[in-house]
Symmetry: C2
Subunit: 341 residues, 2 copies
Amino acid sequence: MVETIQWADAGVVMIDQTRLPREEVYVTCRTYQEVAEAIRTMVIRGAPALGVAAAMGVALGMQRVEGEFRAHLDRVCATLAATRPTAVNLFWAIDRMKRLALKLEGQPHDQIAAELVAEAQRIREEDIEINRAIGRHGAPLVPDGKRVLTHCNAGALATAGYGTALGVIRAAVEAGKKIAVLADETRPFLQGARLTAWELQRDGIETTLITDNMAGYFLKRGDIGCVIVGADRIARNGDVANKIGTYSVAVLAKENGVPFYVAAPLSTLDLSLASGDEIPIEQRPASEVTHVFGVSVAPEGIHVENPAFDVTPNRYVTAIITEKGVARPPFEETLAVFAQK
Amino acid sequence: MVETIQWADAGVVMIDQTRLPREEVYVTCRTYQEVAEAIRTMVIRGAPALGVAAAMGVALGMQRVEGEFRAHLDRVCATLAATRPTAVNLFWAIDRMKRLALKLEGQPHDQIAAELVAEAQRIREEDIEINRAIGRHGAPLVPDGKRVLTHCNAGALATAGYGTALGVIRAAVEAGKKIAVLADETRPFLQGARLTAWELQRDGIETTLITDNMAGYFLKRGDIGCVIVGADRIARNGDVANKIGTYSVAVLAKENGVPFYVAAPLSTLDLSLASGDEIPIEQRPASEVTHVFGVSVAPEGIHVENPAFDVTPNRYVTAIITEKGVARPPFEETLAVFAQK
């Protein structure tokens, strides 16, 4: 399996997801600012992977404390938190690291540094375990002998390993089900074409790449057994923020009677939000739409909007697959139970 | 206005739509085989423009008759008909030219050649008139002060001039309405990003480019007054074949209470088909999905499906705007009336 992100003596090592699938290049972030920049430019992306990256960023930033401890900790955390607004796992991981750092305050610096690294590595290892559990819970939901449609990349590359949506697919395949994947290319950043197609191809899972606007055609034709996607933030009521285009797929799935599943760790749950309307939607640069690998595809000077996420209202979501089990509507109740476990 | 296709002494002159918006290059087809190749490779595309191209292709092919008259005519028509299967205007124009050729059989060759050229030019001029009429009928339907969403390119470049969907927008703007356009980029061939954005920008009509999977986000947000698209073939019951992704936009429009209009000449109507299920859907090469302007965006060897069109069932269509007026459900009845007029 691909190593999305690892802690090394030299710093935080990530596979550069902006250069896949054309080049398999690993970059080493030697400062927390470099980790923040890697998150901002999407060298690493995917909600759970962003959590791990942010945790390792905090650990890296706390290896050497400049000035006052709390002021330095705040600076490190604020820099990492200011990178991308939608995926809540990022803030969850920063909070967890910050709480530990504050608990350790006053201890010998070497010990604080070592414990924060250990915690970041624990978050990484837990994420892989969580994904395996999501896979175990989700695999029985996947119809045998049919196609699964997925959007964006909620795979090994979006996590510390194994994947959430693709983890469910991997677990179903491991359980002996005959499954083929239909992967939306996911414009503008092409996570489906570049990342999902790449990692499933490496795993030998039969994959067909389509453009985003073909999903409706295949859902209507009836050969898709279910849709499985990841999530960047889930509100208390089960509204799901995920990669732009997810909402459209959910509406088209419902219109055609196809189950729509969201696979995500409970760290994606934001119980502070009553509904998805409160989730901040990141607007990204126009150049992602007007250029593909540096090649211009639109007239110069054209106005662009580039919301990176959308919110799928809970009424389109058949179930949310978490590491503690499968939550079904009413999500306000079922998610609350899992969150308390 | 851009000249999409014209008859010249040297042959049929077209703007090369595969190279827009980066280069404004005109190509001259000197044989009917070259016209067929231009249609196949999408140097020219758009249902009404394909009708004009096919008509001019027949005229060009009949300038010199090789062998027996009818055999030659059949060869010319069959070559042009074998290019693209979905847009019915292509077959409609070939039939019209063939009928005239058969009527002229036995006349002096120079006269036949001249009359076929005149007929092809008439089809071109009629198309512009038809588009103006579609614009007049459609303009009152466009809500003032709101955005119009369009998919693919149903503009001047998809016709002999003015456009069908974009003709309605142009007519609404000419009538003084304040309208901004939201243009789906329309993967894989990017007709929205490359052609719609380009021609609306030239006309000074405010245009925002989005990726296809953002349409749902904007429809849900409530700032779109209506959707207007073109059509490649309309069945007797009002089912509409149009560029892949149209079905998704139609479902999302209905889900959000936004009117969904189809603008098309009556030559797009195929009364021989009871429903859209019978419309042949062209499958195009994988390379259109895996490569953008020659740049690879997916792992090598990945499997691709590339249906170029989809069918929108009539229940999602608010109205069909034709040159004879606006047809509303039940389309089986209203379209039949227009077709007989």
